[in-house]
Symmetry: C2
DNA sequence: GTCTATAAGAGGATAGAC
DNA sequence: GTCTATCCTCTTATAGAC
């Protein structure tokens, strides 16, 4: 009956938070089965039974960590402004997603792992949250299309591709490090990656457009 | 001393193959730690000790399955022809990668899982093979750039993005199914996904280029 | 709230018959 | 080559003292 907040004392909240952070790291490295309560409790700096005082079992802890990851992951979209310039709006969105991948690579990988394995532990929350994000995006996108401000690309497929590209540098970090020696923890590398993504998404990889004057629109 | 081929009898090869296929599915669903010899042997239709007659332990089996996945995964690039049309060559490459994702989603997910977890079990083979692919691609890309046939996008980052986009529909299948109700097993959905990727990569998402006539190149 | 000790069970690996 | 039975380790979870 001391300092409380949502029915939990401060020390409870602090410990719960430490455990969730440790769990996120361990689960992102080894998956649900590979992450052990032993390793998590050691990383969090307390004993295994004490950890189980906060979360009644491993699965509950996994879900708590996953929900925390989802909060980080699905927040920053903010709102796309349909009245504003599409290029500026989308650039902002892409930059936010890239920042997230850079600052929370473990969260990105834990999320990716959950999806990769079939998204069986995320609960209906995930579907609801993702669905709202995707449909909001699609709605704004269709609006821009109706005003002829953007290309005739399917909005859902586009958001999938933006997610794929912006999360790739965190999720496939090992491969990228193998081939370049760098990760997006490296600021210069991060900036280059970001600008390349933005260039590809907005302009594609065809040469600088001048040879386009001889004809009509593409047949693609 | 009957029918042999690389020092193995036919029945040995056939069983080894059955086991590797079963292992690929199980490991792709559950990861290394989550995939059990029990489930693999059951799926392959033999007993656990019999499985261990073919592979001395779980880790050896994992590596064998992973190597098989890599063979599938890294083969189809064939060769890009620097003398040919870039758009046609890249379209062909993208289509091959998309076909792979469609036909071997479990292989895609097992590969993705291995990278996600840090690529610690793949051995130096992976680095060598991937490095060769990436540098070959980059060399041809630079050649096209020198002839001003393609945009000034970094070749390595471009191949990362192509991989990210083409593998996304297999690796994030659960999420895509959640949001669209479909997977690329659905032929029409697959074709739409493919054409959207190709459109984005070649032309980007800006509108149909006419408003470009008023000025100079982008400041991006 | 936090710990030590331990129960209970899953899963990898081996022994040895056939 | 393939099986049944078994060993043993690792890991989750609980009991109960402090």
């Amino acid at each position: 009956m001391v300092e409380r907040k949502n029915g939990e004392t401060r020390i409870q909240q602090k410990n719960a938070r430490k455990i969730i952070d440790a769990a996120t790291i361990e689960f992102s490295k080894e998956g649900f089965r590979g992450g052990t309560l032993d390793a998590i409790s050691r990383r969090a700096g307390l004993s295994k039974p004490n950890l189980l005082y906060y979360f009644r079992n491993k699965h509950d802890l996994y879900q708590a960590a996953l929900n925390h990851v989802l909060d980080i992951w699905l927040s920053p979209l903010g709102e796309l402004d349909p009245a504003a310039d599409p290029e500026e709006q989308l650039r902002g969105y892409i930059e936010k997603k890239m920042d997230l991948s850079r600052k929370h690579p473990a969260a990105s990988r834990m999320f990716a792992n959950e999806i990769l394995k079939g998204a069986n532990n995320a609960g209906p929350d995930l579907e609801a949250k993702l669905g709202e994000l995707a449909s909001k995006f699609n709605k704004v996108w269709c609006h821009w299309q109706s005003e002829n401000k953007v290309a005739q690309v399917d909005g859902l497929h586009l958001i999938f591709m933006i997610w794929a590209m912006t999360q790739h540098y965190a999720d496939f970090e090992a491969q990228i490090k193998m081939l370049t020696g760098k990760t997006i923890a490296d600021k210069a590398f991060y900036e280059t990656a970001k600008e390349n993504i933005i260039h590809i998404i907005f302009d594609g990889i065809k040469n600088g457009h001048p040879p386009h004057c001889d004809g009509m629109a593409e047949d693609v």
